[in-house]
């Protein structure tokens, strides 16, 4: 048994009256085994670890993605969203400001907003019609003074103190973030200069145009999604499609970027011509199939539109945001965790205002790469499910993340590296105190 799987009993936790029974195990000791090159399973499977992640990460000093401004163009527009697992409503108030409030009535806790999106003058809880303005201030209580001098709220009840729980909000280039902490650094500082540069390369100032959503569940731990996009090693091996059609090959110009804290990353690569793949690289990739061609070759076209050396960037922004720029098709992915073993992913695909019909169609065609039915996307979802299955059915072991020992943790220029995963766990352990 490894040290991380050791369990011990809290003093005084003895089963009552039965001294000869096995002691009830009440508490687990979380001991990280050795250095960052091995990750214990409890990181992905333990309920208490998950509860602490909600407390210290999703509800902690982090900026959580909640919406695109393009989804809320007009005053009164709102969408349902989440900060970690917690349901929130994102609304554009009458003065144009964006407010993020918990979707929970101050009165009896009802989740009052039931629509996915819409336009409203105010939020009225359907249960007892307590009414809030778009910033969450409580503006109406029916029968506040009772009827005929009888009943009603106590005189001492201060309505101004019972608004909806409101979160800190910031927005950058049309991307809206919320935090449970008031004392947050700016989003630019939060991302750090390298990640900010890539973020601004994608959100280049053009107005966004929402093209639609995907929503799917994934029976795996939420961190596996970050790790999958900090793991350039898998891209050339799992995604035969990418390799077959020359979008990504070992030897392409690429970068796995980490910010100084290790929490954020960008996986970047530049498309190359499949005919130039070296025989050496092909031999290593069993998946490479020569001579395979698509009938609709426009599908793979990369129309240059960004001030960036990269044709593909995948930004992983802790805790809940992935920004996908896959050639000309873009998606925001928002992680909504639901316990250690599952999360929901909400995707928002977008183009830019000013795209002509052909460009929009090009983005939609290329969209076949991504999402829960995407040539790449379905494989990622399947692989992450396999990982969680493995841990649940053969539990209490460790993962190996030892590739590229020359880079202990952080940015790597090699695709055959797990240094960005190690960087994320250096940060995660600090935040979690394990």
């Amino acid at each position: 048994m490894t040290t991380d799987a050791m369990m011990h009993m809290r003093s005084g936790g003895k089963a009552s009256g039965q001294s000869d029974r096995e002691p009830v195990l009440l508490e687990r000791q979380y001991v990280w085994p050795g250095d960052l090159t091995e990750i214990p399973d409890w990181v992905y499977t333990d309920e208490a670890i998950y509860a602490r992640e909600v407390e210290r990460i999703f509800h902690g000093p982090t900026w959580n993605y909640v919406a695109l401004e393009a989804e809320l163009p007009n005053p009164g527009d709102f969408i349902r969203s989440n900060v970690g697992p917690t349901p929130v409503v994102v609304a554009r108030a009458k003065d144009g400001a964006i407010a993020v409030v918990e979707n929970r009535c101050s009165h009896r806790a009802a989740e009052f907003c039931r629509e996915l999106s819409g336009n409203a003058n105010e939020f009225i809880c359907p249960y007892h019609q307590w009414t809030y303005d778009l910033k969450g201030n409580l503006i109406g209580i029916p029968f506040k003074r009772g009827i005929g001098g009888k009943g009603g709220m106590p005189r001492s009840f201060d309505q101004s103190e019972h608004g909806l729980t409101r979160l800190n909000v910031t927005s950058h280039r049309g991307v809206v973030f919320a935090s449970y902490r008031d004392e947050m650094e700016s989003i630019a500082e939060y991302l750090g200069p390298d990640i900010l540069r890539e973020f601004e390369a994608t959100f280049d100032g053009r107005k966004l145009k929402v093209l639609g959503h995907y929503r799917h569940s994934l029976p795996g731990n939420w961190k596996l999604y970050h790790e999958n996009l900090k793991d350039p090693y898998h891209a050339t091996l799992l995604h035969t499609f990418l390799v077959t059609f020359g979008l990504l090959v070992a030897g392409n110009r690429s970068l796995m970027l980490s910010d100084a804290s290790g929490r954020h990353g960008v996986m970047a690569s530049a498309k190359s011509d499949a005919s130039k793949v070296s025989a050496d690289a092909k031999k290593e990739m069993r998946s490479y199939k020569e001579g395979m061609r698509l009938r609709e070759e426009r599908f793979m076209d990369f129309i240059e539109e960004f001030n960036s050396p990269w044709s593909v960037t995948m930004a992983t922004i802790l805790p809940n945001l992935i920004v996908q720029r896959e050639m000309n098709t873009f998606g925001i992915r928002q992680i909504v965790p639901n316990g250690p073993h599952e999360f929901v992913m909400k995707w928002t695909m977008f183009g830019f205002e000013g795209d002509n019909e052909e460009m929009t169609r090009h983005r939609l065609r290329q969209g076949n790469l991504m999402g829960p039915a995407g040539f790449l996307g379905l494989e990622d979802n399947e692989a992450m499910k396999f990982v969680q299955d493995g841990m649940r059915r053969v539990p209490d072991k460790r993962h190996l993340v030892k590739l590229d020992p020359a880079t202990e943790a952080g940015t790597s220029e090699s695709l055959i590296s797990e240094s960005a995963i190690r960087a994320m766990y250096r940060h995660w352990r600090q935040e979690m105190g394990v």
Binding site: G212, Y214, H216, T360, L364, A373, F375, N381
Partner: protein
């Protein structure tokens, strides 16, 4: 009695019934091709200029165009089948398509508009239960090519808010 007796050949209801029957049979063959994962047979059920999309009701209701699968031509439908057969990694599974409530809206020019409800039930080899993977409606346009019915358009609009992990094969 001034009402004329209908001869079978002149009764428009007979023509409607035959067309309904043809499309019903087409849908049964379509379901069988997908259930048996004969993807290249599935490709041949479309016209060259066919449009095929699997789109959430959420997107369709808002006139947002993004689909889980988005094919603007038979060439793209072929590429989808080809890529799934030759390159895609996903766990093995059984699928069962149930197609019903067929409505045929009649013919205008060479186009026949129809709709049918569908349910897609999936069994994974390592999970015991059959699960309702997707439920929705086909909005179709058929055309005859050399006398044979083909799909010129199939919009699969699914009601599920969440896709259960992945949609690995077409609907």
């Amino acid at each position: 009695m001034d009402e004329q007796p209908h001869t079978p050949g002149s009764d428009p209801r007979i023509a409607g019934l035959l067309l309904h029957h043809d499309i019903h049979n087409f849908n049964a063959a379509y379901a069988a091709a997908l259930d048996e994962q004969r993807l290249m047979d599935w490709v041949e059920m479309f016209t060259d200029d066919a449009f095929y999309v699997v789109i959430s009701r959420e997107n369709a209701d808002k006139q947002l165009p993004v689909g889980l699968i988005y094919c603007e031509s038979k060439a793209m439908i072929h590429d989808r089948a080809f890529a799934l057969e030759k390159t895609a990694m996903f766990a093995p599974r059984y699928l069962r398509h149930i197609i019903g409530n067929l409505q045929v809206f009649g013919q205008s020019g060479d186009q026949i508009r129809a709709r049918a409800n569908y349910a897609l039930i999936q069994v994974l080899y390592d999970r015991p239960e059959a699960k309702l993977h997707q439920v929705g409606v086909y909005q179709d346009v058929f055309r005859r090519v050399n006398g044979e019915l083909k799909l010129a358009q199939r919009r699969c609009i699914y009601d599920n808010l969440l896709v259960d992990n992945a949609l690995c094969l077409p609907v």
